[in-house]
Assembly symmetry: C2
């Protein structure tokens, strides 16, 4: 690691000094032109000469050097979660990246796999991001936030179930999803409601508050609630369906539409009539729910818009002293189809 | 952008000089200890003093400064594609990130949204990655590769349908997927084979070679092949199903399992018997295919292992002068179930 091979394929990496020499200008002029500094007046022919020299040499400014000089970067770092990413979430992520790009930020996703929480925060801090947007869990702690701010992050924004000290928070309260499903099931007359709890790691941050939401809605109406751990595979679903009548459930909230598809198939194969014997509700309103027979009832979730989040990032970067904002972001409503 | 606010919440960002002062050692010693330089002998008590001082001050080394000194970073940059990410791909991505992490690389994903090809390469180059791993398309061109190498990237590796000059390539030949599906369908007696072509942008790099593969297999056996453009929505699928008998198709390769589910539902609603009237084959061997009735035949794809790709990255970084490697990586086999 201590050799410094600035060579790649036998050529040296061109520097701004090389550009300055070829264009016959100072290094400062090169920097002004290539960083589009509007404050300094430089003639168009000089600008052109610098750009042509840079192109001829294949020179690219070094973001790191620039951020060292400026004290901060335009990099928004997004720790990537371990969570399996669904279609709802990936659409949102795409929109967010576009919106930040239009505001001239560079979006970088960083995998924290294999790192403990504070170790991960340290690795993120090393890149000196101007802002950190943490989606879902992704292992951010109060001391991690502190560390990032010391390393120059002007804003830390969490989008997820909880707020962490020192951050702006877009709180997505998953209990509202469960509450919408639970209220619908008891309204349809269910007295014993099962709630699918995926066994895949990383989903508890969604499944536990969703269960709480179902409980809040169902128990108020005097119905009982039974958690049903399940892996996303055929066999465990068949085993669950085989003991369904023992469980005595007349309704089930299946965590999401994909689990609902898995469970509905197993129940139908076991001869359980849907919705007559058991009503089934999914969540996320995916296309596949409309393709099932009976058509799947589901909870439609209005996600935060990427544009809105991008604007919050920009505001927070411009005013790092602002008091932490907290906004509730999840609106849920039931979409009733044939399965309930 | 020309103010240099090194302050965040009123505190200054601690530097290695602050750590050196508090620990009573030189800055060089701080650097050796915190970067785990094995070549230099430093006593355990001194190491401990430096670490404690760094922790007390909340000091984090600046990856940028380190890479400026070393001439390269440990950053592997992965341009993120615009493509909707399926479960097959996200599992692979997760494994790759773990494997690179174990080899002490930092994995950073960079969204190229809103940038033209060479603009994107320039933005990536600014981060001075030691290696670039481009999955799928992601807009890399020969001049982009050239630019990245001039900026110090020691290896550029593409994983996708084509090789680009100057890169190591793990070529995933999607025609093998179509060929496996096409061969199976003609073997089942199909004489007129439809091939679903998703209309969502970004999928052509998979769908076009898959179509070519079906063609190669089917036309050799004297069967005809008809491309069927389709959006992943109920209505267009219903419209396609409504004119199915006019098309006179007795078999269809549905691009993947999700499109197969969409099309099968529409065909069944239109009274087309599967597989008697039309055989259906998907791809990717997802769980959902086993949940359909009839159970879906599919093409199982053996993806490159993340560990294998991580090792190639490491070899390429250590030996940037090595001749570009090219390896074929896609093994496909038909999984016959009830739909064909």
């Amino acid at each position: 690691m201590s050799q410094s091979p600035k060579q790649s394929a036998g050529r040296s990496v061109p520097t701004s000094a090389d550009v300055a020499r070829l264009a016959g200008v100072s290094r400062a002029t090169v920097s002004y032109v290539l960083n589009n500094t509007a404050a300094v007046r430089i003639s168009e022919p000089t600008r052109r000469r610098v750009r042509e020299a840079a192109e001829e040499l294949g020179y690219v400014p070094h973001a790191a050097a620039r951020s060292l000089r400026a004290g901060h970067s335009r990099m928004v770092l997004m720790p990537t979660a371990h969570v399996p990413i669904g279609p709802l979430y990936s659409g949102f992520l795409n929109e967010l990246q576009w919106a930040l790009r239009r505001l001239d930020y560079t979006v970088v996703q960083y995998a924290g796999v294999g790192l403990e929480a504070d170790e991960a925060a340290r690795a993120w801090a090393e890149l000196r991001p101007v802002a950190v947007v943490s989606l879902g869990r992704a292992g951010l702690t109060p001391s991690g936030v502190e560390l990032l701010k010391r390393a120059g992050a002007r804003a830390v924004i969490t989008v997820g179930p909880q707020q962490i000290a020192g951050t702006h928070a877009l709180v997505m309260d998953q209990t509202t999803v469960g509450r919408a499903a639970g209220a619908h099931l008891v309204e349809r007359g269910c007295r014993a409601v099962g709630v699918v709890m995926p066994e895949e790691p990383g989903l508890e941050m969604f499944s536990v508050p969703r269960l709480d939401g179902v409980r809040a809605a169902a128990e108020r109406a005097g119905a009982t609630v039974v958690p049903l751990p399940l892996r996303y595979e055929e066999e465990p679903a068949d085993r669950l369906a085989a003991r369904w009548r023992e469980l005595g459930l007349d309704g089930v909230f299946a965590y999401n539409d994909e689990y609902a598809m898995l469970l509905m198939r197993a129940l139908q194969d076991a001869g359980i009539a849907i919705p007559e014997e058991t009503a089934v509700v999914g969540s996320d309103d995916l296309v596949l729910g409309r393709l099932l027979r009976p058509r799947l009832s589901t909870v439609h979730i209005d996600m935060v818009r990427g544009q809105e989040l991008a604007e919050l990032v920009d505001r927070a970067v411009r005013d790092p002293e602002a008091a932490p904002e907290r906004r509730e972001l999840l609106a849920s409503r039931i979409v009733r189809r044939e399965s309930s």
